[in-house]
């Protein structure tokens, strides 16, 4: 209970992330303009609380997100724990990162995850990818996730002392 924010993230991941992602947000926002709540939750978990919470949140949300997609590949289960570990590692290597740096790092993470998803789905024949489609899907996805994530990062403030060790 010493980390109320982490428990808040865990409760959100377990009960609210997927229902909001598949039920509510698509009614408000079209396709790629919907923020990836799972990715943002794992990013915040890894960045603010370290490797173990990042991996745990990644595994939990990976299972849940893969359960609610028609894709055959366990893509979320593969990528989200990696995001949790990666963000925690970067946070440890660059401990004094200001808000602009964190947002830039978030943008890079979202971009890498989206490109990796698209390539893996294309390789397994689940989508047909080319430059224009990638651009049309990637640009809104990165923009909306960075905007949403920047607000969350600003709200979260500076990482707690001793985190990500």
């Amino acid at each position: 209970m010493r980390r109320p924010g982490l428990w808040l993230l865990a409760v959100f991941a377990l009960f609210f992330a997927v229902p909001l992602q598949v039920g509510l947000l698509p009614q408000i926002l079209p396709g790629p303009w919907t923020p990836h709540l799972g990715l943002l939750t794992v990013f915040l978990g890894g960045f603010l609380y370290g490797e173990a919470p990042g991996v745990a949140l990644g595994l939990l949300l990976g299972v849940l997100y893969d359960r609610f997609t028609v894709g055959d590949l366990g893509l979320h289960l593969l990528l989200l724990p990696v995001v949790g570990v990666g963000t925690a590692t970067v946070r440890r290597l660059v401990p004094e990162m200001d808000l602009v740096g964190r947002v830039a790092f978030l943008a890079l993470t979202v971009l890498l995850v989206e490109v990796a998803s698209a390539v893996l789905f294309d390789l397994t024949g689940q989508i047909l990818l080319d430059g224009s489609l990638l651009f049309r899907q990637l640009v809104p996805a990165v923009l909306v996730n960075v905007a949403f994530g920047a607000v969350l990062l600003a709200m979260a403030g500076r990482p707690r002392p001793g985190a990500a060790r």
């Binding site: 997927v18 229902p19 992602q21 598949v22 039920g23 698509p26 079209p30 396709g31 790629p32 919907t34 799972g38 997100y65 359960r67 609610f68 997609t69 028609v70 894709g71 893509l75 979320h76 998803s117 698209a118 789905f121 024949g125 689940q126 989508i127 047909l128 080319d130 224009s132 489609l133 049309r136 899907q137 996805a141």
Partner: protein
């Protein structure tokens, strides 16, 4: 003597006043000369009375109007509340009527397809924006299985791709991986309708003078239609029924472009879905084979 005279003198005015009073009491005396004396007093009194009465009426009217206005204000608020309540009720009624109409048509579709089917409500979409899929509130407990066809009265939605005990996920007809046997309704030429068109395949069509095509992610291709087949833009593509999951004759899409090439054995027929996929709320999941027709 002096005392008697004084006493009789005291009675004289009293008698005179009484006489004048009696004189004035009788209406017959009004036209007599004495009425000229009383006229100014009467006129003055009547004017004062009139003014007093007018002022009283004005105050009373103002007060009653104020009281009435207060009541009207309250009444107006009450009427406005009632009006808002009725508008909400009317909107609810329209919503109920639209839903009832949709469910009625869904029920009609269920009778028409003549096979086991369950109605399902759309709970949401796919968790990944790379796929176009729907999450339904029916699963294995309701008899739904992977591969089952999913319809609405207007046409085909897609096919069940994943199923759990209580939910199922439907892959839309225009998503990559969707394959449905279909035919052109007018000319009866059959083929296989495949979801997903590689955008690079459409590059050559941009300069052919035809109407601009929709984005490739909403396009389908009707494959294996012979080169000399009679297919034109605007034709409706329907299910052929050659596969058990869909009954024949259900609309899937409209032909938007036909590409004929002497180098190809088959036509390239590009189709867009008839349904606005995002607007689907309730669907019919076909869970079994057609029922045998009973002999009369």
């Amino acid at each position: 003597m002096k005392v008697r005279r004084r006493r009789s003198a005291r009675w004289i005015p009293a008698v005179l006043i009484a006489a004048v009073g009696l004189f004035l009491l009788f209406p017959q005396t009004r036209n007599r000369p004495l009425s000229l004396v009383e006229a100014p007093f009467v006129w003055t009194a009547s004017q004062v009375t009139r003014i007093t009465r007018g002022a009283t009426d004005a105050v009373r009217g103002t007060w009653s109007n104020y009281a009435a206005l207060t009541g009207v204000r309250e009444k107006l608020a009450e009427v406005e509340g009632e009006r808002n309540h009725l508008l909400v009720a009317l909107s609810d009624s329209w919503e109920e009527a639209a839903r009832a109409d949709h469910l009625s048509r869904l029920l009609g579709l269920k009778k028409r397809v003549n096979r086991p089917a369950v109605a399902a409500r759309v709970l949401g979409t796919d968790s990944s924006h790379w796929f176009r899929a729907l999450l339904l509130d029916r699963g294995q407990f309701d008899g739904v299985a992977a591969g089952d066809g999913v319809l609405v009265p207007e046409g085909v939605v897609g096919r069940v791709a994943k199923v759990t005990h209580t939910t199922s996920q439907v892959l839309s007809v225009h998503n990559r991986g969707s394959v449905i046997p279909a035919r052109v309704q007018r000319s009866r030429h059959a083929g296989v309708l495949v979801g997903g068109v590689r955008p690079s395949a459409l590059e050559d069509l941009k300069d052919d003078g035809g109407e601009p095509l929709p984005p490739p992610e909403v396009l389908m291709e009707l494959k294996y239609v012979q080169r000399n087949a009679d297919v034109v833009a605007g034709d409706t593509v329907v299910t052929s029924g050659l596969e058990g999951h869909f009954p024949p004759g259900i609309p899937i899409g409209k032909v938007v472009r036909v590409v004929r090439s002497n180098a190809e054995t088959f036509l390239k027929v590009y189709v867009v879905p008839v349904l606005p996929f995002g607007a689907v709320e309730e669907v019919l999941v076909l869970t079994g084979e057609p029922r045998p027709v009973e002999e009369p």
